[in-house]
Amino acid sequence: MSPERTETVQDTTVVHERRTPAPPPVTLIGMPKFPKNAKKELANSQLRTNLRHATTTIRNKRVKVVQELPHWEDLRLAGEAIKNRTLRHLDTYLLQLEASLTANGAIVHWANDAAEANQIVIDITRSKGADEVVKVKSMATQEIDLNEALEEAGIAAWETDLAELIVQLGHDRPSHILVPAIHRNRSEVREIFLEEMGRYGTPPPEGLTDDPAMLAGAARVHLRNKFLRAKVAVSGANFAIADSGTLVVVESEGNGRMCLTLPDTLISIVGIEKTLPTFADLEVFMQLLPRSSTAERMNPYTSMWSGVREGDGPQEVHVVLVDNGRTKVLADQVGRQALRCIRCSACLNICPVYERVGGHAYGSVYPGPIGAILTPQLRGTASEIDQSLPYASSLCGACFEVCPVRINIPEVLVHLRNRVVEEHHGPSAWGMGMKVGGWVMGKGNRFGMLEKGAELFGAVWPGDKVGPIPGPASAWLGARDLKKPPTETFRDWWVKREKAKRSGDSGQKDA
């Protein structure tokens, strides 16, 4: 949460008051790298408790609902195969998608990057004479930081998903793909509502407690006006079907349905990788997604719309197809599998690193394992934070096991580590160490020489273990003892044993 409230915004020409709560700014340059962010988050007891509770609950539920389907592994294989085929022929399917959407009466826009996508939304909203939009929860709009772009253009973007609303009112950033306010508990939510709700619309009722039902009720009343007033809605899409020209939004609260049906104009921001070839492909993904994300057999609301239907729902439907780095990812033979992601967040919930540090440490809209492989590909590895993300994993592989589209996240992590090394190979202690180490490990006698050093260390070091020592060694020794090296390596012991054997002794007594 940002404590200071400089609530004015500089447009190129006008200076105006901010309309929506200011989130903390995101500046890649100078953003601390992951280990430093993590250190700070790890000390937050409330965060640790919230995350442990939330992720444990949801991953246990996921296991249960997944085990109900005997053909789960086949579904994963099918999901992987459909996505792979789509990505392989993405150019074709995108053109087909555009044609179907257009035939259905939708207006299709293409955006190379975040700035282009944001400008398209600004232009459409202005053309409707609107100065506000209501929003369905969407990762793509988070990725392009649409809310702040609209704010700068004097347009207020109101989040209508409960958790997104909590994040927005809290002057905060999401910390989870699916549960953006996972780092908040209900007393914090109550505080945020009491403090902020009234400034941006209908205030909370008198005597608001931290009872979840009452909090949700307050949000419902707060949003009601905004839904009824709004002329323009902005959404993302979970899937964009090429053959039928259908967009699909999967949600739990019904706020999405309100946005998708009430306002007259609907703008959907869709990453180009969200394409699916046929309507029938949904069969696979509508089984994979709810069970992997909310651990439900079926999510409460699935909205599908194919263009404009006269007299029913939005009368002007825009679809903005966004690249924003995806073509670059597609060009990487190992890294491209990250584009299969359906944003279920199962990998976050299972990740032992995410569970302890939370989403903000990743300095990216996409946190957790998928963030660690997707963000450095989308943004490149120029910044310190992006260089550190591929290393923000112990490579335990739990994410790969749960991913419904079988993204081999550890494989991509290691691949991207190599990219970081190749792209930033200035002189470094790590680089030197690895070079020397690589040479040493090239021959047994070289390693044997190194081992002599260890034996010597073992012989002179007093005591049987190495305790805390300040300096670079404290990265290990700060919390962990180290057994001192033995005075005889296995290699030396073996050589002695073989010698003894040859000279007639059995040499077995030591074994």
């Binding site: 994993s393 290699r491 012991w493 074994a511």
Partner: protein, 265 residues
Amino acid sequence: MSVPTGTVALFATCINDMLFPDTPKAVLRLLERLGCTVDFPLQQTCCGQMFTNTGYFTEAMPSVRNFVDTFGAYEWVVGPSGSCIGSVRDQHPMLAKRLGDPGLQREVDAIVAKTLDLSEFLVDVLGVTDVGAYFPHTVTYHSTCHSLRVTKVGDRPYQLLKAVAGLTLIDLPNADQCCGFGGTFSVKNPDTSVAMGTDKMRAVLDTGAEYLVAGDNSCLLHIGGLLSRNKSGVTPIHLAEILARTEDDYLVQADGATTKSGGAR
């Protein structure tokens, strides 16, 4: 039980060779007791995963080349480490494809097919689960991520432990969760690594076991380091060292000749 006719090459792994020689000694003793002919080719070094997993692929190549040169001629290559065996099987082909020539790729593919973790070799090749071991202690088993998800040793270690005379095996809560070692992760992200390790340590202590057993000394180096720093009194031990012990060892131990000390690995 079916003992292979050829020589089994012991791949000690660099960390065991240098820091935990008791583990390869135990493997040797166990395999010889079961009738195998074992060799330790001196040319061996390392699987190279500390380079690979840190992103230094070029630096890992000497290890890959050295591995095929060292072990190519043997019938089986057996090592006491799910992680290092996993690296050979999972990463050497990737490295050979990227940075090697077709010849190296062929050699790597051939060696991958005969490189096994100790637990796999015992259960699948020798066909034994009861190796005649005796270990009258309470232990809990940490499955280690790479044994579980890369090498996929499955329940083989449990089968082997359950057949050990005198041993009481207590289930470790949240057994499939990473301990936070992660190779260079442990020093590149020390705070997160220790936070994960602390939770693992708590799970271990909750079992009340005397020994924490695993098929990988690297994870034990990490959890053991925490257990030692906290004076927990729990001793980390490699699976091979349990399987190698027989009742005879305890006759020796009663005389006070060899006793194991708890703590840091």
